[in-house]
Symmetry: C2
Subunit: 345 residues, 2 copies
DNA sequence: AAATATTGCTCAAACGTTTGCACAAATAAA
DNA sequence: TTTATTTGTGCAAACGTTTGAGCAATATTT
């Protein structure tokens, strides 16, 4: 019969007529406590329904076993599967994660960081908002002394650990693939170039064009927020051009979906008239018609590696601290939207 | 220039040569502190980069301002948009949420609850795992005295608040719609009947058949886990029947997608040969070909209402405590997969 | 001018743990 | 038997904050 009040170590102590310190040590298997009292303490603890108060422990030990995770949104397969893996890995080590969303807002991101620091999280794992161009709030994390790991949307210049894929290389793979399909005028619906990953994709796109001796036509490169609606807008604009592209490389699957919708509404054949490639390998890319070629980002691997890196920073006594940047090779998943049947079959 | 050490109220106190209590009161705008010292304290606090330690506050006040959220998975549009709304509402009131996933596992759900209770969360908002048939761990939450709100996957019999949609009614709407399309043999790929929502959908399905004088053929009702693969399996099995159904009502969009794949692989026309209806209105239902008719569950509304109910329990002094169950009317979103062109146009 | 009220602050205890130190009793070594 | 070691436990301080009670100084009322 449990009372409604929370029962503490002190309650066990008075019940057993020993000191709270003895109880605490007994519960932690301290060698200097006799086996008999240990057994006694464990039994009555269970009996009375004792639940340790982690808040008190955290305060005393200076360790909360909470980890803050900041993502632009959970409502995306990419981020939610990363989170899933992070949670899995940290849970195994006794950490709980607090997930916060920035909703791509710089100001919300700042508030999230403040909140997490006040809760005394033991570390922060983050992927930055689209809006973010000033990094002083991340510096604040560093100053507080807790580890900070960035993934995917990470800025390399503030000297923190990072896990992500090789965006520059991804663009190369995409452009090369499109050229192999016979495309000559490849447009790029890009993200804002102030975000590192999008900047790298743009650089890769431009360099690949150069490498394959295609002209770099500035009107074929447009930056945007990469939502579905943005994809529609940008696609419409590209179709206005006197000299239309014959392939579109979109830096996000969502925007690619918007672009696809517009193309279909106008009766433009994909991939025959215009080939389309997205980015991120969201599940829907293989569900729509035609299926959309995309870049697989190894979200699960990114999640696992990020968590692993965090644990090294925070727990591993053998780990010699050094900046750790991990860039994974991406994989191009070719689907119908870019696979021109070149008359070979 | 900040030091690397965390600075506390005491540090401010010694810097200003006043007592810590004065500092604390100044920071909280206590009326018995002079305006001059208040200003002084606020200034030096900002200057020294003071971050309140919520752990200490929580311990002293007996309130952590943390709320635990337990979902089967975040990796679903339905749950992630509910979470988004919950976070939005609670964030506005100074609460942070800790999201944990049960992965549909009973055992994980139990561990999650224990972890949350130890962190001293101020309340728990949960949607139960598929596996869960024993509710003693939820009783434990009730015993601990903090509020518990269930949504969607909720058991009504343990006497806690609940927010969800009317599953029974949903089935009625679906069956009626299919009958209006001229279907005569309506199958139901259902969830496990020990889960309340699926049981209700099954009941609704059976009662609706009765109401419209359709025979209730037992071989047309199959229970499963409702994953994509499960949908494929069950669809294949239904196609084996000597007397095939002409409509399938699937209790989940994911399983509906699996079913659709099988139908398309076999060249069966949807909706002409077999009409298909899913459940949940996941975004992909409007992306696939044909688009899938589904039931919209008002996930954003569920999230908002759940949070609101939690806040009433925990903060609202005027709220007269009573059991509060909220059942929303669902909306049938008719799409191509069930819309038979009855030769009218 | 005396009595009362208000203002502005300090003290110390409390929240539930953990932990260095001390200390008695039991055991082992000399 | 004396001395040294080990074993089992208690005391009290600490983590950073909040808060009731207390108290001197000032301001207000009679």
């Amino acid at each position: 019969m449990n009372n409604h009040k929370k029962i503490t170590i002190k309650d066990i102590a008075t019940a057993l007529e020993i000191s709270p310190s003895a109880v605490s040590r007994a519960l932690h298997n301290h060698p200097r406590i006799s086996e008999s009292t240990k057994k006694l303490v464990h039994e009555t603890a269970k009996e009375m329904g004792y639940q340790p108060n982690q808040l008190a422990t955290a305060l005393r030990k200076g360790k909360s076993h909470l980890v803050g995770v900041i993502v632009p949104r959970t409502n995306s397969h990419f981020f939610s599967s990363i989170i899933e893996k992070i949670e899995e890995a940290l849970d195994a080590k006794g950490y709980n994660i607090i997930i916060t969303q920035s909703n791509e807002s710089f100001e919300k991101e700042c508030r999230n960081i403040d909140a997490l620091l006040q809760i005394q999280v033991d570390g922060i794992i983050a992927s930055m908002a689209n809006e973010t161009v000033d990094f002083s709030h991340f510096e604040k994390i560093k100053e507080s002394g807790i580890p900070l790991i960035l993934f995917d949307r990470g800025e390399n210049d503030i000297g923190v650990d990072y896990v992500g894929i090789d965006d520059y290389e991804s663009s190369h793979m995409i452009v090369q693939h499109l050229i192999e399909q016979g495309c000559k005028r490849i447009a790029h619906i890009a993200g804002f170039s102030h975000t590192r990953i999008y900047k790298n994709r743009i650089r890769g796109y431009i360099d690949a064009l150069k490498k394959f001796n295609l002209p770099n036509d500035e009107e074929l490169l447009v930056e945007g927020s990469l939502t579905i609606d943005d994809g529609r807008e940008k696609m419409k604009a590209l179709l206005e051009l006197k000299d239309r592209p014959d392939a579109i490389y979109v830096a996000s699957d969502y925007a690619a979906l918007g672009a696809l919708q517009v193309l279909q509404e106008r009766g433009i054949k994909v991939p025959d008239d215009i080939a389309l490639v997205g980015f991120g390998d969201e599940p829907f890319t293989s569900l729509v018609t035609p299926t959309i070629t995309s870049v697989h980002q190894y979200s699960k691997k990114i999640g696992a590696l990020t968590a692993q890196q965090f644990l090294k920073r925070v727990d591993d006594k053998n780990w010699i601290p050094h900046l750790h940047k991990l860039i994974l090779k991406p994989e191009l998943v070719v689907r119908a939207s870019s696979k021109k049947d070149l008359g070979i079959n």
